[in-house]
Symmetry: C2
Subunit: 233 residues, 2 copies
């Protein structure tokens, strides 16, 4: 396991500052897994038995209410820890994680957590920083939902995705996993209809190009102005 994965995880930010031998120790209790597109890595409410590091692919973290309404909490890009319930004293996952594309992950049993954090403070610090960042991001989203118009929120969501996973194509920068209008709606607290209308409008103004589960941004700068509430011209 260890030797095999060294190269894959060499540049994972969370392991920065670990020596090779330490890395081996960290990886010893880990196992690799692949998760097919649309399959769940873990489910909301399920017993938190393992925590994960996303090596490749992208995950959608989704929360569902009793009434079955969905909100997309965030997308996770390669290199991030996921399902780190124990870091925050939970024994159950607060959300579900679904593969947006085929993914490769490492996973550790929760039982490895105390040992890992105790022996590798740098790992612990990274994990807690991750939680902190998520708190910050979530808080930012509250502000956005409280104060910004739908158009700005949608523009922002698209820009975030592009920033996280943008890939250059002839059409501009494309979000490199499938995203539906409904997905964007679930990220911004609106409806697929409104998202559709906005994307159409932006497309006719030459800021984006989009199709079935595909969005590329051709004029990030102008879209950014929209996200900041420019009355437009």
């Amino acid at each position: 396991m260890a030797k095999l994965n060294r190269s894959l995880i060499a540049d994972v930010e969370i392991f920065n500052g670990l020596q090779d031998e330490d890395l081996d120790t960290v990886l010893e209790p880990a196992s690799a897994l692949r998760v097919a597109k649309d399959a769940a890595v873990f489910e909301q409410g399920g017993a938190a038995e393992r925590f994960f590091l996303l090596l490749d692919g992208a995950l959608r973290v989704v929360q569902t209410t009793r009434e079955g309404q969905q909100v997309i909490a965030r997308y996770i890009a390669a290199g991030s820890l996921v399902g780190i319930a124990p870091a925050i004293g939970r024994d159950t996952y607060p959300a579900s994680a679904v593969a947006a594309v085929d993914c490769v992950l490492l996973s550790w049993p929760m039982s490895a957590w105390p040992d890992l954090t105790a022996r590798f403070p740098v790992f612990a610090a990274n994990a807690y920083r991750t939680v902190g960042q998520r708190l910050q991001e979530t808080q930012d989203r509250v502000i956005e939902l409280s104060l910004a118009q739908v158009e700005q929120r949608v523009a922002n969501a698209v820009l975030r995705l592009v920033r996280q996973t943008g890939r250059k194509t002839e059409d501009g920068i494309e979000i490199d996993f499938p995203v539906s209008r409904q997905d964007i709606a679930d990220m911004t607290g609106t409806t697929l209809h409104t998202v559709s209308r906005l994307l159409s409008a932006w497309e006719s103004q030459g800021m984006v190009r989009s199709g079935r589960k595909r969005i590329s941004v051709t004029d990030p700068h102008r879209l950014m102005l929209v996200s900041q509430g420019a009355k437009d011209a």
Copy 2:
């Protein structure tokens, strides 16, 4: 310092499981402070030099955008840690904390953090759990803002405040610090006008009683139904 505060903090949840002598060690680097109503404990963006434990009173945690718009991130009740930036790897406060009433706090220099967490895992665990809870609450708020109507959000906000700090009076259960309509609006992403209309309506239906910066709930159960989107009768 230590002896003096023992009784005050004896039942603070975050210190559960600490022996008396450990408690003394924890308190040694701490100092107490009082903060008058409406004064700030720390300011958004300021260097995070100390972290705090609220012993008595209530704090309002506020985030302000560049454009000067405000959102109330949360209220902190006595017994909670505040300003624990280092727990999440920040060196600057992400929000401001303002005393909602006269408050008493303990504070430690950030430099005490590594030592405290290293020596008292139970303290560390408590701190991280606090962060986790806040992440969870913030996430819940995102869901609420995304899916619920204003009426439900306001009902929920009022109920949360009542649950956190409710005090029985002849009018029902009263939020025991001053809250204006604007405050409620800032907690729910709406306007003081809408909040005022809602409170008036509820009052005429006998669910609440309210006045200048004062709200009491007389029929929590019915208000709960409202918060869950009952069409009402």
